[in-house]
Amino acid sequence: MSNPTVNTNSLGDSETKAGDPIEKIGGATATYVDQRLGSNRFLGRNLGKVFPDHWSFMLGEIALYSFIVVLLTGTYLTLFYNPSMAEVIYDGSYVPLKGVHMSDAYASTLNISFDVRGGLLIRQMHHWAALIFVAAVAVHMFRVFFTGAFRKPREFNWIVGVALTALALGAGFTGYSLPDDLLSGTGLQIIRGILQSIPLVGTWAAFLVFGGEFPGDDIIPRLYSAHILLIPGLILALITVHLMMVWTQKHTQFPGPGRTNDNVVGYPLLPVYMAKAGGFFFVVFGIIALIGGLVTINPIWIFGPYTPDQVTAGTQPDWYIGWLDGALRLMPNWESVIFGFTFSWNVLIPSVIIPGILFTGLALYPFLEAWATGDKREHNLLDRPRNAPVRTGIGVMAIVFYGILWIGGGNDIVATAFDLSINSLSWTLRIMLIIAPPIAFVITKRICLGLQRRDRDKLLHGYESGRVLRLPHGEFIEVHLPLNEKELAVISGKEDLRVLPAPAKADPDGVKNKMYPVQNLRHKLSVFFLGDNIEKPSQAEIDAGQAHAAHGAELEAPLHEYELLDQDPVGHGGVLHHPGMAKTNQEQIDQRQ
């Protein structure tokens, strides 16, 4: 058994370099650069940087890599796309639109699709990659949320992530609008309606954005500069900040053997992580290219050029805007006129207020939770979602809320696909939007607590081996075995936080506590967050429990003897278990010997 070699050599080890001209040149270059930038100091410290390995840590990478694909393909598209609303008569190779009047933007997009070789591939890659980018951002955010990776010291990075999410939506929507086809134009028409609904400044906002009345001929060039310069610039800057923070703070890790809050266990950047992460870039890139080649996305030629008096059934935005469209659809038709001024609640609430609340809530969540739980420690070990039942419940509640809005955004497609009435579907969704999220919260929290109880049992008694013994007096027992190293470390990695003490209304001297309402709120919140948690057993109890189970496991339960008895074996499930049973087991076996 040979010792596996760990890590390749660092720069400057002359022994391995000798003779290889390429390495010589590389070394010389490194020295040249180092003399000007001091780069070796950075490389020396960072080439061996350790990254923990878990598939869910790759979600952010999917976002990063699909964003790179979006940048590359987008750059290519700018070479052929013309962001102009000037009217042209189409004369390209797509026959069903020949001779149709359309904007130059639409014509040039058709041109990319039909007359530039490979243009359609790049367009489709760009669009698929954009959908994947937003999806990866969202799922990455879920992972960070449910594992508590946003806790101290990573709150700033969470906020950067929330900003990136908002920018991703903006990037997607501005891009969706650029081809100036019937679908995207209808989307812009809706945006105009939303802008117009803003109190006081709405009409002016709409007129300034569109350069006058809708649709005008300014909006496409304006969206274009936002889509290719402003938004991607901001995204790039924030991604840089995001990654620098991850680099400085080192990646979080799940609890496991050898992993503590003060270390990081994983593979060094060079070569393993570099090969895996770099390889994953090509895998993501390759899958996007494959999908771009094999599956159509946004066949703009079917929808035709945008005209404000035409529309198609099934008018929908891309998936990531679907929830906002769904909110618009499900909203009751409230509007009020106060002192002659119109408040369009039916538009304002779903398109401005709800997303505003959701994004603000997201950004503030880490601070809210830390305040409510009084948790001021640094966290480098991740929570298992079950160990933070309220947080997990809130997350699932938000996902259910979002999901119902999302289904609402496609309610016409859902209605036709499943032969439902769109009216009753809308009403069902309206009602579910109110009642389903709280139910989801309660169920999730209960499941989490149940899992916590099971974990506690495992620590105290070992795991249920599935081996069932029948004792001479007829009782069935199940043999418990000690947990393996990994599971033990994972389960006992749970951190218990205490509920904050209830504040006193007045101090012993009778001086009124002015902060009482705030402190009491905080106390109640901490009860809400932590009150139901199942406490982890003490280390002594765990050791005792595992030792006990180990002892039980040593007893070779003579299963074959029971088989000889020709009795019905009892299945794995439904076995009663109560403390002390292992002892009884042992007594019985002792007796027989």
Binding site: S113, I287, V295, A313, P317, W319, S424
Partner: protein
């Protein structure tokens, strides 16, 4: 590949021939045609009687003994031969089961029987006639113009790709992907069920032909970008991205994380 796409056309050509044959039959039975298509195409007396018999057996329970309509079905006086042909030849009538709207299925009556019933209803009062082959010929019609008209008049219900869409209370606009030129024409002039009427005065026959040409091109269109996903737009695309593409990416991530054997 021309060979394959030619093969693909086959059923449509066959349908077209069938439709043309039907149209010719209609002409041969009709009394001298006048310029106005709204005038009833009168069938021969025997055909009308045959049609009446079929009507009394299959339709009168809902539409009334004299086609005057009942609570269960509208009057057919003035509905015209085109309406009868559309409803019966697409299997929508007789109604299989009460529901939000009649569902297309395999027709119950054969070509002759449908012609007879059409002749009977047409004999009651003038109404839209079964279109002639000339009405239906979209040869050389400008499909680009047809596309524009389609987006103005049809796409709001039938979707830009002709895939159909939802209406209120469980009703829906059906997909046009297997509609024949005759059905398209008849639907436009008769306005079956929820569909409004697009008369030949506001949407002339030449424009109907252009629309037909566009729908036929849509039915026959290859998908330049790969798998078409039903051409139903962003909802299906989003679903595909989550179900297929994102799952593949996660699978790749899991593969990277699994320790090699």
């Amino acid at each position: 590949m021309k060979f394959l796409s030619a093969r693909r056309r086959n059923p449509i050509v066959a349908l077209f021939l069938l439709v043309a044959a039907l149209g010719l039959t209609g002409i041969s039975y009709s009394v001298v045609t006048t310029a106005k298509p709204a005038e009833a195409a009168m069938g021969s007396q025997t055909q009308v009687e045959e049609g009446k018999k079929l009507y009394l057996e299959g339709c009168s329970s809902c539409h009334g003994m004299d086609a005057e309509g009942t609570l269960n079905g509208p009057t057919l006086i003035g509905a015209g031969a085109a309406a009868v042909h559309f409803q019966v030849a697409t299997g929508r009538m007789p109604l299989a089961a009460p529901g939000a709207q009649a569902v297309a299925k395999d027709p119950i009556y054969n070509v002759d029987e449908i012609a007879a019933m059409s002749a009977y209803i047409a004999s009651l009062a003038p109404g839209p006639a079964i279109p002639t082959a000339e009405d239906l010929s979209y040869e050389g019609a400008d499909q680009a113009k047809g596309g524009e008209l389609f987006r103005i008049n049809c796409a709001q219900c039938h979707q830009a790709a002709g895939g159909g869409g939802a209406l209120t209370q469980g009703k829906y606009a059906p997909s046009l992907m297997s509609a024949t030129p005759q059905e398209i024409y008849e639907a436009m002039v008769t306005g079956p069920q929820s569909m409004p009427v697009f008369s030949n005065e506001t949407l002339p026959i030449s424009e109907k032909q252009e629309i037909t040409a566009y729908i036929m091109a849509l039915q026959d269109a290859p998908s330049p970008g790969g798998l078409a996903l039903g051409r139903l737009g962003p909802v299906v695309e989003g679903l595909f991205m989550w179900v297929a593409v994102f799952t593949a990416l996660i699978a790749a991530a899991v593969w990277i994380g699994i320790k090699a054997r």
